[in-house]
Amino acid sequence: MAIATVTRSRLGILPMLVLFCILLVSLSLMSDATHNSERFGQLYSWLLLINAIGLVVLVGLIGSNLYWLVSQYRARAPGAKLTSRLVITFVVLAVVPVAVVYYFSLQFLQRGIDSWFDVQIEQALDDALELSRGSLDVRLSDLLKLTEKIASELAEMTPALVPIGLYDLRVRSTAVELAVFGMDGRIVASSSVEGTNIVPHRPPDQALLPLEQGRSYVGLDPISDAGLHVRAVVPVSSSKPGAEPLTLQALFEVPERLSTLAENVENQIVRYKKLAYLRTFLKYSYMLTLSMVLVLSLLSAVWAAFFSARRMVAPIAVLAEGTRAVAEGDYSTRLPVTSEDELGFLVRSFNDMTRRLSKARDQARRSQQRVEGQRAYLETVLGSLSSGVLSISDTGELRTVNEAACQVVGIDLSGQLGCRLSEISARHEFLEPLLSLVDARRAEQLLDWQEQVLLFDSAGRRVLMCRSAALPVSDESSGGQVVVFDDVTDLIRAQRDAAWGEVARRLAHEIKNPLTPIQLSAERLRRKYLKTMPGEEAEIMDRATRTIVQQVETLKEMVNAFGEYARAPKLQLERVDLYELLRDTAALYEGSTLRIDLDLVEPSPLLNGDAGRLRQLLHNLFKNALEAVRDREDGQLVIRSRWVLEAGDRFIDLSFADNGGGFSDEVLERLFEPYVTTKTRGTGLGLAIVKKIVEEHNGQIRAQNTEQHHACIELRFHAEAQTGLT
């Protein structure tokens, strides 16, 4: 828009200049015409019209400019205020001096024109005119007398001699023309200097009127195509009776000197009187011309003010528009350079600035995209890692954490970003060993290390393999470290289980095989030699062989148990009602010292499992509890159930809480490992087998001590409700 305005303004100046020139020429011609009506008088009306039209055009232009300005001002367009201020300044600067000049010019005009005319001069001129008339009158009366003398001479002549005598008389009297008319107006005789002029000039009616009263006529008359002449008309009164009364007309030239003087006086007086008479109009005409000059100048000044203000402001408005665009973030703005002055320099600088800004912005955007790409790439890599990754700033704050890290530690750490490690460990005690290790190593300025960390939570012990590496220090990052950790608990456990399985197999193979021959041999010894032995020896024999057989039996049991543990029989999966199984199994212990309380929440859970293995699991737990409360009179096992909805899946939680002595801390750590027992008897495989069966059924198991330091084992299975569950 602003660019269009500039172009239009540039186009607009040429026609305007032409208009000004025409108006100026027209005005100067008009002023000439007012002054000297002969030269340009013919054009005066046209000039007046042209000027009026020019003024109307100017007024129209100014009106349109004013309208434009007002609409711009209302629209709060950039530069509108500046334009109006400039226009007002220009107009005031132009109007004030011109108005002053106009006022004084008018005063001079009024007084000047009035001072030309003076009553005394007028009187003197009138007197001069009167003098001229007097002088002419003297001349006229002389000529009248001469004519009367000629008439009296003619009266003496006979009519036949009149034409001949007339010539003589004319020559003598120096008249230009002598003519004698009859009563009926016919020409009786005539004599003229100009021979060609056969017909004499007839006297006008007004010259003949005095004759009727018997008087003569003399006057200064214009003769057709011959200028002023003295005309004398006198009656020719003949003394002869019966003679026709005739009329003599004599035309005399006015003496040249007299004529010239009289004409001069006449002309000047007429000129003066005309001027004096027209002076009011003359004043108005001058005032009109002056006013038109004033109005033209003013309007031109106003228009020029608009024009220059708009031209001056246009680049500023363009700049303002451009600046606004830049402020709104559009760096692609390029302004047209319309001039070579300071404004042009400003516009060029602005263009440079926006070009650089846009280049810088593009560069920043590119590097940001690159960084974001790298970041996304890293996040993808980190996200797909099964290892937990934490990055920690050099000041000990958590910077990034990946999904796997949260899964491994079971805590959503993404909300803790920016927190110091000590704060996080205060919030999550479980993580304390890991985080304090990191802090400790950092305090030692040791950033590259590898260690195994043990974490303890309600689910048991977790072994994490941690590796730390220092992050490079660069402009963008201030170093720090990255800690990668893996949960190797299951791995270690699997290794341990595999080792135990191997042990069991070997036991079965290496120990169980010789046991049967040993037992058989002992029984054979007993059968064969007991009867033959004397009393005391027989007693020893009996006791020894019985011990051997018993111990071998025990050994066999133990080996079988190991075999049981190491064996991984194929599960016979079916729909099992867990409550029913619980109740059935619990019923078997009704006669024992253990009181089993069932606190089960309906509906009954159905799970996909091997009923035999699950029964074995329950037996092991009940046996465990029985062992634990063996020393108590009021031994009891409370079994509670609870439905849990987690991540859209339904689970059944079962807790087995006895009132025995609970687990010691050492035992709790490795409770589910084989050969870990608090009991004096047993293989130490009970809970290991329980855990194995739970895991075979995709369940979870954990053990803890209650507040009263009783043992409590919790199981969780994925289950379906037998009937609808809300």
Binding site: A33, T34, S37, G41, Q42, Y44, S45, L48, L129, S132, R133, L136, P204, Q206, G219, L220, D221, P222, S224, D225, L228, A262, V265, E266, I269, V270, R271, K273, K274, A276, Y277, L278, T280, F281, L282, Y284, S285, L288
Partner: protein, 200 residues
């Protein structure tokens, strides 16, 4: 009177009197000369006659000059009176066709030295002098035997009209008064078109 009314109206409204004065000045400019009798030209006794195959015109125009024009004349301002005569044929749908047109111009001035009115007939370039203004105007207004148009140039199937008007030629007035004459003040003298059928 208008100026007075304008001023009183302003006073009643209580507006700035300066604007009122401005208006007053402007209105006075328009009514510069005191109102006098308007100059006039009455066209009478028009007649056409056919002689020797040429239509000739006779007419009588009574010119009345008002005080302004008479004073101007007395003060040496020459006046030019103009008679415009046209022979036209009216057409149904178009403007009238002009078959012939004549202009008769007369210069009228006062000769202060001899106290006579001089009439210049610009068509014949002959000057006449009169003691009285009426005589001079009579001379100008008396038209007789003015050849109009050759009868052969007329088409017999059409009806022709003659029309005539008498004006004071404003462009011949001194420059300062022309504007006032155009604005229709006492300086103007204009008759309407006087129209009659062209008959032999």
């Amino acid at each position: 009177m208008i100026a007075y009314l304008t001023q009183s109206a302003d006073r009643i409204r209580g507006h700035s009197t300066r604007r009122g004065y401005l208006l007053l000045v402007l209105v006075s400019l328009c009514f510069l000369a005191p109102p006098t009798l308007a100059s006039d030209a009455q066209i009478r006794n028009v007649r056409t006659l056919l002689s020797d195959g040429v239509y000739r015109l006779g007419a009588r125009i009574d010119f009345t000059l008002n005080d302004t024009l008479q004073q101007a004349l007395q003060n040496g301002v020459p006046l030019v009176l103009e008679l415009r005569i046209e022979v036209i044929r009216e057409r149904d749908w178009l403007w009238a066709e002009r078959a012939a047109h004549l202009r008769q111009r007369f210069g009228l001035q006062f000769h202060a030295l001899t106290r006579r009115y001089l009439v210049d007939n610009y068509s014949t370039d002959v000057q006449y002098s009169f003691l009285e203004l009426e005589e001079a105007l009579d001379y100008i207004g008396n038209i007789y035997d003015l050849p109009l148009i050759d009868a052969n140039l007329l088409k017999p199937q059409y009806t022709y009209w003659v029309r005539m008007r008498a004006d004071l030629d404003i462009e011949s007035l001194p420059t300062p008064v022309r504007l006032w004459a155009y604005l229709g003040s006492d300086w103007s003298l204009q008759s309407d078109w006087h129209q009659w059928p062209l008959q032999p």
